[in-house]
Symmetry: D2
Subunit: 277 residues, 4 copies
């Protein structure tokens, strides 16, 4: 089935839905599903349509451009598995969760490589016949290490880079190199407990709930647009290690859910927020 996802983001104007739906109608497309949202504060319009049928992509895009404002964002993606590269450091639970989903055929993605600044995950990754690249950061400046990291990434196909407990801070240069392509899981309910050791922070604060947040990576640490969050309950009997262990289940599920939304082209970025249709 020739299924495409059409995403449009633009200023709202009267007749916008009519004008867009007119073009889709005239192209003789089937609309399998259609979601729209207008942010009433900023008057920004978001639309995601799943369309099937035979059509000329260029023709459709040209016609849409003709009726939409110049700065409208139009994205037309064929439904297909996306290539992703996973970056990890040493913890297995997020990476392992994605590897199992990949092996089971439950991930709408091809994991083309796993890259780590340590070598301890090599054995796990290679069980699944996925290339593993070890790019140590030892005795290297942050810039030198990232240069090697970027080179390693570019050896493989990717549409998306997933940080599955990659425990190094990325430089603006890295972020700029892969714009809107880097997805992270942070082990707290952001914006609570930004930075290092969130479980120790949470334990010290005596919270009754801990969480995890998956977000796009931007230049500001732990401040990128949030895609998914979830929580679990804890109490005074939890040491910080218990919180960490309980949190791992949340982290892996949140990362997996956020990745799923991204792979289905459901996530719009707007300012520092996401709109998910």
């Amino acid at each position: 089935m020739n299924e495409h996802r059409l995403l449009i983001q633009t200023n709202d104007t009267q007749g916008l839905v009519y004008n867009i739906s007119k073009i889709l109608f005239e192209q003789n497309l089937n609309i399998e599903s259609n979601s729209e949202y207008v942010d009433n504060e900023t008057n920004e319009f978001f639309m995601r349509s799943v369309i099937t049928g035979e059509f000329a992509q260029k023709d459709l895009l040209r016609k849409l451009k003709d009726i939409l404002p110049v700065n409208a964002i139009i994205q037309l993606t064929k439904k297909a598995k996306k290539d992703i590269i996973i970056l990890a450091t040493k913890e297995m639970y997020c990476l392992g969760d994605l590897l199992i989903k990949h092996e089971a055929g439950d991930l709408d993605a091809n994991i083309t490589a796993v890259i780590s600044n340590r070598d301890s995950l090599k054995n796990l990754v290679e069980k699944f016949n996925i290339p593993f690249e070890y790019v140590t950061h030892e005795e290297l400046s942050r810039e030198e290490h990232e240069d090697l990291l970027i080179k390693a990434i570019k050896k493989y196909d990717y549409e998306l880079i997933v940080l599955a407990k990659y425990m190094r801070i990325l430089t603006p240069n890295f972020v700029k190199t892969f714009p809107k392509q880097v997805l992270n899981i942070h082990h707290s309910f952001l914006p609570a407990f930004i930075g290092a050791n969130p479980y120790k922070q949470a334990h010290s604060r005596g919270v009754k709930i801990i969480g995890a947040t998956s977000h796009w990576v931007t230049n500001v640490l732990d401040e990128g647009p949030i895609i998914a969050q979830d929580i679990t309950r804890v109490d005074h009997t939890y040491s910080w290690e218990d919180m960490r262990d309980a949190g791992r289940n949340v982290e892996k599920v949140v990362l997996s859910n956020a990745l799923d939304l991204v792979l289905k082209d459901k996530v719009f970025v707007y300012g520092n927020k996401t709109v998910i249709l």
Copy 2:
């Protein structure tokens, strides 16, 4: 602001969104928000638009009917507080929650009356200057009692009847008299624990989570279309009374949330399910 809600439910056909949006565009309406959903199994189309602007209601409805299938359901409602009647028996927590919201101006509804088969809630209701009707069921057959109940209801304005812990089973005659107008809160996570004493059932089964369900009332007990559900955690230390007490917070929030969705004209009924846009 002249705000209306337009709800359309019909078989999906190619060009449907185009044809509807064409009419809305030609009426010079502003679409404040627009949600659509197509059930791919049954090909049923649902749309909810919030529209503002000056327009002739009859004209709009006629034009929509012209392009929609004969059996399409079209509903055009002006944004306004709806009149509701609350039925309760003796427990205060759901009724009290609605009375406080009403008093605070946080409920998109006018409570025109509270009717009970007991008189113990009279004192609470009259504090808020809301008419209270006591319709005892004692020494009456179910049919006799319901006749009196229906008469009491019809003394007041209503678009909706809310069962806020009304602990009597309603007959098919009652359901038929107020079609798609009776909203109930059931004190379990349906379909678990249908019928009487769900907290005792839950306690006896040793569940670790209890819940509440708000649903439309139909002729089959506890089987009507579900609008909202929520849960809370319990453990072995909870007696059934503790479960009941913990559940009350869930019940009142679920009923309040479901009522809010109904008052905002967000709930479509489709078969034995709801679509909420």
Copy 3:
């Protein structure tokens, strides 16, 4: 039934449970329930026992003191409704929730007065025949206002002061005047969104979950020991006002749950945390 709650907090030592249980046994008490917790990091021991039977309170306390370290905290409380004073400003939902519970007999407390820095809640409170004190802050310094507030509080019996959306910051003098007696509800999932307008902050940050936190009031704003937290899900369609409205249900339930724990003498304070047995 002569039911008491015995709470002990002290350094753990070998034989502690044995020595305490020996005394309870020799007093011929029935232990209805017993919970213990040792913080393994700090070696602090917490115990809460519900005991029934005829016994001499002074004798029991003296014997416990004899075997416990000098700085042990021993609390013996007869099960009874506690007197509480509620402070509020203008929002009804938390106050109303407590008033309804009080009216229904579902609160283990007597609300002896409601005090507000505005007069708009007077009408609601007096429906329930509870004294309402209006202590305006207008044209007064913070200190002058608090002096009047403290005087108003002291006119009534109280064991606990509940801030049910009291929107003024309290001074160290106030906190010192009512040590470990002031319970607050904060409208965010602390420590996220400390300070003013947490729902606006949450909306601006684009979070997918909002929450509420009930905590003891200390001199550091929003930093006191957390008693209870809960959350609800939101998405991009929520304006900050929608978040506020959704959050209100969470706030009132969290405050009610925290108050319930305090009224049942289940909450120990230890450093900046709580232990709940």
Copy 4:
């Protein structure tokens, strides 16, 4: 560290805690943590203590037996990884989750074998160097198949059998062969949707929440004592396959959490319920 877990379940009597703690004290044991619970309806007493120190096991058990009723259940377990056998059919997500935890060293267990009635999981299991036994049910009666299954199980060490999406109903003979040793994950929020295809049932009923339940296996299908439950939210846009996919994350987390409780000797079975200390 010589850490043991002592579990006692018996009728409550006055002085019970005193008598037990006296013995523990006289054995010069350190009590690392201690939890007690009395079911006030049935007067049943439950205690779990984590103890360290040098002591004679037999001596301790004898002394406890001397002071406890004849039918008291006393269990003394050295803290150690337990041997477990996993039964699965064809779905990877629960099995894979346990394999990754095992590989990461995050599971307090040794997986000694995985046994399946299909051979499709062989490849995954053998990546982790764990024995895989294929015991087909084809062309066999239920009894014949179970005989082979039991033989396969008995080839390996086990203290616990985990059904990680094992999709065959077990006979009373199997249950009797491994009493209180078989842990299952059911893909619904029991007791809702007992039996086959719970996600199809949930979809058909139009629920707004789906869940998963981990329980001990007894002779009555899906009726054994519940250890852990959790839920996730769904809405009208979910097909039953979407519900299944969303549910898988819940199932694997619930099974993992329940297994963790069992491996830590925290789960008492009492009638058809569990007490978790």
